[in-house]
Amino acid sequence: MAKLPAIPAIPPQSVPLDAQARRAVARRAMRPPSKKGGGFQLFLLGVGVIALAVFAAPTCVLMVFGMVPSIVAYVVDRGKRPMLAFTIAPLNLAGLMPYLLELWTGHDQMPTVVHLLTNVYVWLVIYLSAGAGWLVFMGMPQVMTFVLQRSLDGRKEKLKALQSKLRADWGPQVGGGEDQI
């Protein structure tokens, strides 16, 4: 049998990514890198919740239901740091705090919890406070943009004024322009 000439192997080529794939890669890249301590923190949180459920079940139930906006914010926030959750949680907790105190100062029993959770105003207060946190989170970049713009405008005005003074003192050619005189 005659020998066939050796066929050179085709080198593996990197296939160019389409736009959709590139966006997917970008999204993946935006996810926070897995941290070594992440699982441990979650474990501690779980232990804390279980301990709380065991020793103060009404408080645990009220907090789990009351802090839902913060938990949701923590879950949906894909940034390196969950700033949305950090913003919503303090106000969410502040909205929840009066009812926790009411629970703690009264009879710390499930019926109180049920009573509170069946009261629409309780829900309204807790979720409005969480909503305020969300509004702060949403509005603050606009406020910052406005402040920074004003700062830049101020600097620009100063530099323009300096240039005008130089032109007045030395003529347009000081900036490389034509001398009109």
């Binding site: 907790l93 502040a94 702060v136 603050m140 970049p141 943009t145 920074l148 530099l159 300096l162």
Partner: protein, 675 residues
């Protein structure tokens, strides 16, 4: 300075020179006037006993500057010498002229004109009344290394009333030998045009003295009625002595003298020493000069049969451009080498043709230069003949001055210098003199001067350099006859005050005149005058005039300061700082009112202020650039603001939320009694 005494609106009947000599224009002296100068009676206000008269020179002719100074110092009785001179208001045309005060000769003029027929003098009279009295003067001139060059019967005066002692008349109011008829000039000088005959030598004076003696001896102008070119041809053909004496019988006693003086070869012509010996009674046989080489067979040029190199040169010059094909051919060269057999002529011819192998200039100029060089090669002692001009190298400066004063065409004379024809003339001379190398260097300098077209140099400067006493020929002040730097600014002030100047005061003539007269003038000032930038040009003008004002005065020149000051805006705008400009413009009016150009210069061109201005301008430029970079950075930051404010907003939102939440919690705790 002369001050007219006549009332305004009337022509002055007298003017005063240097506050001493009152020149009486209403007393003209016809017997003492010369062709180029009117003569008037003079009253000496100091009255030291002299009897003076004034010669008012023709202002369109340059006087003999160097000789004037020498003659003034000489004060010889055998020569009319000026006692004082200077510009005065002229008798006509409302222009100033050079006035020369001389001691009035008692005996008047020998003849009114050179063609006047007189009773022939005896040989004894000629010796006693002419030769003996005049010779010491020529001797003195020879000692001073200068010449008279105006010896002719119509310029012979008598110093005594009895008319027994002759003296030489005016030789300084016009260019050298300007009025000399052909008969009284040597062949070479006679070929030159009247304005280009040059200073010459004492030998030329002695030749003229010989012709004058011959005139007196025969009672009429020598030359048998021939004039101009015809007489020159006759002199060339027969020799001066034979051509001038003709058939007249010369007395034995004068024969030797006239033979000696009328020799055409200057080397063989009698000099001061020979005449001195002759007057002492020693009789010498004049040498017969060798006749010029003559060809056995003629060459036909311009329809004439030519036997000598000199005749060939004259024929070629007469042919003009038509002779070029002969020069480029071989006929003439072969004739010179084989038929004439004169090695010097044929060698010179070869050099002349080789020298024009350069291709500088237009074809016409090139051909004219070739013809001039060949003419010099064939007839080395003749003047430079170029495009209808005939000029001795030493007479070039004077010829230029006359043409310039009369607004003629200067190009041919300039081409002579640019074509290095004088240098060729000196190299062609059969007898090299000790001053030739110096003159070669001088002509090279003049040529370089001519090629430098900056104001203050060029042909105008050349004219003033070559004519030391020439007045400034600027149209603005030409009528003022400004011949001294001291008089320049007052004349310009008058011209400006009279509304003759609109903008620039210093023209090329004024710049050249000032550069010639002022030895301290900086070359940079002349360069500034020629700059294209109007500010630099104006500053150059102000600098030049300020230097003269500082050197010669007067202290105030209001009209000039006003004229130059009101144009100073471009100069002030050389400063970049608007504040400096405003300050200078504010001070300008006060400086103009002072009339000091020096102050004007200091105001407009303060070096330290200009340096500081430039330094501050550079700093301002840097500041502006930094501001520009800052603005670009701001725009960049504005583009980045969305991303930054999002991150920072999140952080601040968290912080705000924490603080507000904390406060709310604290309030709740307080409300429930925990705090």
């Amino acid at each position: 300075m002369a001050k007219p005494v006549a009332s305004p609106g009337m022509k002055a009947t007298s003017v005063r020179l240097h506050d001493r000599f009152e020149i009486l224009y209403d007393v003209p002296l016809a017997d003492l006037r010369s062709p180029t100068a009117q003569a008037f009676d003079v009253e000496d206000t100091r009255s030291v006993g002299g009897n003076f008269f004034a010669l008012i020179a023709d202002p369109t002719l340059p006087p003999r500057g160097q000789e004037l100074g020498i003659l003034r110092m000489m004060k010889h009785e055998a020569i009319l010498t000026p006692i004082d001179f200077g510009p005065v208001d002229g008798v006509q045309d409302n222009r100033r002229c050079l006035a020369l005060i001389c001691e009035r000769p008692a005996g008047g003029r020998l003849v009114a004109g050179n063609d006047q027929v007189i009773t022939p003098w005896s040989d004894d009279e000629i010796i006693r009344r002419l030769i003996e009295p005049v010779f010491p003067g020529l001797k003195a001139l020879s000692t001073e290394n200068t010449t008279h060059r105006s010896i002719r019967p119509s310029n012979i005066l008598f110093r005594d009333a009895a008319r027994r002692h002759a003296m030489l008349g005016d030789c300084f109011t016009a260019p050298t030998a300007f009025d000399q008829p052909v008969a009284y000039e040597t062949i070479e000088n006679a070929m030159a045009m009247p304005t280009g005959r040059g200073v010459g030598t004492v030998s030329d004076d002695l030749y003229a003295l010989g012709v004058t003696a011959l005139h007196l001896l025969i009672g009429r102008s020598p030359g048998g009625g021939l004039k101009g070119d015809a007489l020159i041809e006759e002199k060339i053909r027969r020799g001066s002595y034979a051509a001038l004496c003709g058939e007249h019988r010369i007395p034995t006693i004068l024969y030797e003298l006239l033979r000696g003086l009328l020799v055409d070869d200057p080397a063989e012509r009698w000099g001061i020493r020979e005449i001195d010996l002759w007057l002492q009674g020693r009789r010498m046989a004049p040498k017969s000069p060798p006749s010029p080489p003559r060809a056995s067979r003629p060459i036909e040029l311009n329809g004439e049969q030519v036997f000598t190199a000199r005749s060939a040169a004259r024929a070629l010059v007469r042919m003009g451009e038509q002779s070029i094909h002969i020069l480029r051919g071989h006929t003439l060269e072969v004739w010179l080498q084989r038929t004439l057999g004169h090695k010097l002529s044929s060698d010179n011819f070869a050099i002349a043709v080789a020298d024009v192998d350069d291709t500088n200039g237009a074809a016409g100029v090139h051909d004219a230069r070739l013809l001039a060089r060949v003419a010099m090669a064939l007839d080395p002692t003749a003047p430079i003949r170029y495009r209808g001009l005939a000029v001795q190298p030493e007479g070039l400066g004077c010829a230029l001055a006359v043409v310039m004063a009369q607004r003629g065409d200067l190009r041919p004379l300039a081409e002579i210098l640019l074509g290095r024809l004088p240098q060729f003339w000196f190299r062609s001379q059969p007898l090299q003199k000790i001053d030739h190398p110096v003159l070669l260097i001088e002509f090279d300098r003049l040529r370089r001067l001519l090629e430098d077209h900056r104001p203050g140099l060029g042909i105008e400067r050349l004219v003033y350099d070559a004519n030391p006493l020439l007045h400034c020929l600027s149209p603005l002040i030409e009528r003022d006859y400004v011949d001294q730097l001291n008089d320049l600014l007052p004349a310009l002030e008058r011209a400006v005050a009279g509304g003759m100047v609109d903008s620039m005061v210093v023209d090329r003539h004024i710049a050249a005149f000032a550069a010639n007269r002022s030895k301290t003038l900086d070359d940079q000032v002349l360069s500034a005058l020629g700059e294209a930038d109007p500010a630099t040009r104006l500053l150059g003008q102000i600098y030049l005039l300020a230097l003269i004002q500082a050197q010669c005065g007067p202290a105030t020149l209001p009209a000039l300061a006003q004229l130059l000051g009101k144009q100073a805006k471009p100069v002030i705008e050389r400063y970049r700082s608007r504040q400096t400009r405003a300050r200078l413009e504010g001070q300008l009016a006060a400086v103009i009112a002072e009339g000091s150009l020096t102050r004007l210069v200091h105001l407009l061109d303060d070096l330290s202020e200009r340096q500081a201005d430039a330094q501050r301008y550079a700093q301002a430029g840097h500041q502006y650039s930094r501001a520009e970079a800052g603005l670009e950075k701001i725009e960049f930051e504005r583009g980045q603001i969305g991303e930054g404010s999002k991150d920072m907003g999140a952080l601040i939102a968290a912080a705000v939320s924490t603080v507000v939440g904390g406060i709310a919690i604290a309030m709740s705790l307080y409300h429930f009694g925990y705090l």
